[in-house]
């Protein structure tokens, strides 16, 4: 029992153990809820709610009314769960702490300026979310959820993601790649 608790408290688990946990979560989502895991869709629901509050005419379109309705869906709840689940995990390992950029590797590559980090995460977020829309899901909703059903879309997405990810990392890292 003590050994199990000590393992749970470790900051980093074996990727195989953590992977088994995620796999079981994926099974339960289908089995209990008849739904798939996903994250990018939740941001679309959320921005629909915000958009309809600020600019109701602009956001009164087919997409925010029917495709990704502006409401609190189970995907939004799942996303909130992810936030708190990670928080609980960080509490068990004693790593929960407010920070603005804690990555040493990032600072080596892009420099220590905070504005750069914040700007790139903002721009990165836009790119990732738009790409998820085009592809039909993100790493959770398409790669994992589609992949576990053996959906061809998932493997096309994963192939594209790795191909451009490798090239982009090479360009950014240059000689340090």
């Amino acid at each position: 029992m003590k050994a199990i608790w000590n393992y749970i408290r470790k900051e980093e688990w074996s990727p195989y153990i953590a992977g088994i946990l995620l796999g079981v979560v994926g099974i339960l989502a289908v089995w209990i809820n008849n739904s798939l895991l996903g994250a990018s869709g939740a941001f679309e629901n959320l921005v629909g709610i915000i958009g309809k509050a600020i600019a109701p005419d602009l956001f009164n379109n087919m997409y925010f009314n029917f495709v990704m309705p502006a409401e609190i869906t189970t995907n939004v709840i799942l996303l909130v769960g992810i936030f708190f689940g990670s928080m609980i995990a960080a509490i068990t390992s004693g790593t929960l702490k407010f920070r603005v950029n804690d990555s040493e590797q990032w600072k080596k590559v892009y420099g220590p300026q905070l504005w750069k980090r914040w700007l790139l995460l903002f721009v990165g977020g836009i790119i990732l979310e738009y790409a998820s829309g085009i592809a039909g899901g993100c790493t959770s909703g398409l790669a994992i959820s589609g992949g576990m059903l053996l959906d061809p879309a998932a493997f096309l997405f994963i192939a594209g993601m790795f191909a451009s990810g490798i090239v982009t990392a090479k360009l950014i890292y240059g000689k340090r790649y």
Binding site: L22, G23, V47, G147, L149, D151, M161, T168
Partner: protein
């Protein structure tokens, strides 16, 4: 209501797994693309093998029917993936891991990160009509899974995938696919 509670509990477990696998860290994600730390790939492949085996076994036993899988439209899935990879290698997160990273206290994920996702979602939703139907019209196979599409035995397809995952783990851990790096 039950669906909401289940989603919340599953989200907690999902976020817990993401955190313990290290996916809330920039370097864990970007280093997969540099072949210097393949933990994230092992994590994803393990999850896929476990969930795939479980779900196809349950379907074989008649205990579940699959929800509609994400639609396959070759160009969109692939091009979306290509753009996604650029963002992921640049920022070192994705929608789910951004939420998880915000949960362990990363204000850069919570503020500019989440604002970026919301902005991207708004741009996508407002341009959806002009962009998506055209992309989805190309090579669209609908909501299919590989065993049904190509008329393969689900058991053998899952087994083949599992063996490929094991081969991948072997190549990473034993055959030197993971390179050494000095900057971690």
């Amino acid at each position: 209501m039950t669906a909401y509670i289940v989603s919340f509990v599953l989200g907690i477990a999902f976020g817990f797994a993401l955190n313990k696998a290290g996916l809330t860290k920039y370097h864990k994600i970007v280093n997969v693309f540099r072949f210097t730390d393949m933990a994230v790939l092992k994590f994803m492949m393990t999850a896929l093998v476990v969930s795939m085996s479980g779900l196809y076994a349950l379907r074989g036993l008649g205990l579940v029917t699959f929800p509609a899988p994400p639609a396959t439209y070759v160009v969109g899935n692939l091009v979306g993936g290509l753009i996604f990879g650029v963002g992921m290698a640049m920022a070192g997160f994705c929608p789910g891991t951004a939420a998880a990273g915000a949960g362990d206290g990363k204000l850069d994920y919570l503020i500019p990160g989440v604002l970026g996702f919301l902005t991207g979602a708004a741009i996508y939703g407002l341009t959806y009509q002009q962009v998506q139907p055209a992309i989805m019209a190309i090579a669209n196979y609908g909501n299919v899974v590989i065993p049904d599409l190509w008329n393969l035995s689900p058991f053998l397809t899952v087994l083949t995938f599992a063996l490929m995952a094991l081969l991948l783990f072997y190549l990473i851990d034993r055959a030197g696919w993971q390179r050494k790096s000095s900057d971690q």
